[in-house]
Subunit: 261 residues, 2 copies
């Protein structure tokens, strides 16, 4: 059942997961990948969300990848990051009405059927994998197919998000993937007019969970209009404005992940 | 392949879907169900999210359902609504590390293995189904197993959410399920101190999409702390404060759905 392989020309693989959707997993994956590339690392970004790929929109790249002579997909490069997504292969508005085995085979193709090191002489230092919500086919396929160096769990501080985040954490622990840490996303919103901070999706509970489960707390990322809009426009804030306060938070989290891993 | 049946003692079935997770699908499903029950309808609520069930927490019910003499699950009643969720059957913090076929069989159990009309002499007027994100196993199973009277698509006004919402819409249209309409969720946030409205997740794009795709626009629901907190506490705002402005929006949407359906 377990056919873990090291991906060719990829030094380390880190999954960005959550359990619940819509907590900012893709925003986190994209900005962590770009901020690691800003440091000079060779970074890849794999969008493992087959039903709702966000990478094409968020990284502002979308075309059919070319193939190497031995028929491997060549990642598209955006902001220095080598990217692959099922979104490059199917039209943006077409639903993938697929049962599990098709998800499995699409994901295997993006993992083993790609020339991940193509754009970098020495291969990738790190491949960041943006996971879909849930604990199902994509997750099982990933942990069985490749050696994962670790997982980062993203959650808001809401109970309904934390319940699912704990499930994600338990799943990775059960298959012996180290938890690199938890991130609290959408942690507060400051009114652009008066500066008043509202905890729209709660605040503080992710850090408390990190302590409870004895895993690192990597940081908290506020709700930020520029962050959201830059993602929707395909220009990650970490690329557009690497010195902004938000970009520094991602850079700091990236540093913890690199040093810790 | 297609074995659609009418569920015993259920008059109509409506799916609440989105494509993307975290846009407020469960909050919408819960509050629509409660507001329909407030009107005196016999309402059921099926949580079809096997990986991340939110119903137990949001409706404040969680115990093992009893069985009828012919071994059917008896829904739990909360706020007048007959509820079933995989969350009643597995521990809250235990992940369902399941491939597609197990999801399929769990969902079939909750549909056909339940005595949906148990608490109501004349059966259910309407069964509201809270769908998981994506367009995969749960969706295929639902549309193949039962006759769906319609689907409501929930989205924020962000591009990355709308792309997935359009996939959801296309999926239901492809299998001839009528689209009852689109709802814009998290449409604006008013600062509790100064009242300034911020379009954190965009505003207006869902309505524009409804016009583009020629489907009804059912309304917009603002980001509201009381709405979010009441959900996390298991006391839906439509039950707690049925005359609040937010509850009236749900009631109004429910009316459109009932009259339109």
């Amino acid at each position: 059942m377990n056919k873990q392989q090291k991906l060719l020309n990829v030094n380390a693989i880190v999954a960005i997961a959550s359990g619940k959707g819509g907590v900012g997993k893709s925003t986190t994956a994209v900005n962590l990948a770009v901020s690691m590339a800003n440091r000079g690392l060779n970074v890849g970004l794999l969008d493992a969300d087959i039903y709702g790929p966000s990478l094409p929109r968020m990284m502002g790249v979308n075309q059919k990848p070319e193939l190497t002579d031995d028929k491997k997909l060549i990642p598209l490069v955006a902001y220095g990051v080598s990217c692959l997504s099922i979104g490059f292969l199917v039209p943006e508005e077409s639903p993938a009405i697929w049962r599990g085995p098709m998800v499995q085979s699409a994901l295997k193709q993006l993992l083993h059927g790609a020339a991940w090191g193509f754009h970098h002489d020495k291969g990738l230092d790190i491949l960041v994998v943006d996971m879909p919500p849930g604990t199902g086919d994509a997750h099982l396929t990933l942990v069985q197919q490749v050696h994962l160096n670790g997982a980062i769990i993203v959650s808001t501080s809401q109970d309904v998000a934390l319940i699912d985040a704990r499930k994600g954490l338990a799943m990775f622990q059960r298959v012996n993937v180290p938890i690199l840490g938890l991130i609290e996303n959408m942690s507060q919103f400051s009114c652009p007019r008066c500066g008043h901070a509202s905890s729209i999706f709660g605040h503080g509970a992710v850090k408390a969970d990190a302590e409870k489960f004895n895993v690192p707390f990597l940081g908290e990322i506020p709700i930020d209009l520029a962050l959201r809009e830059s993602g929707d426009e395909g220009r990650p804030i970490t690329a557009l404005d690497p010195d902004s306060p938000i970009s520094r938070i991602y850079s700091h989290i990236g540093e913890k992940v690199i040093v810790g891993g």
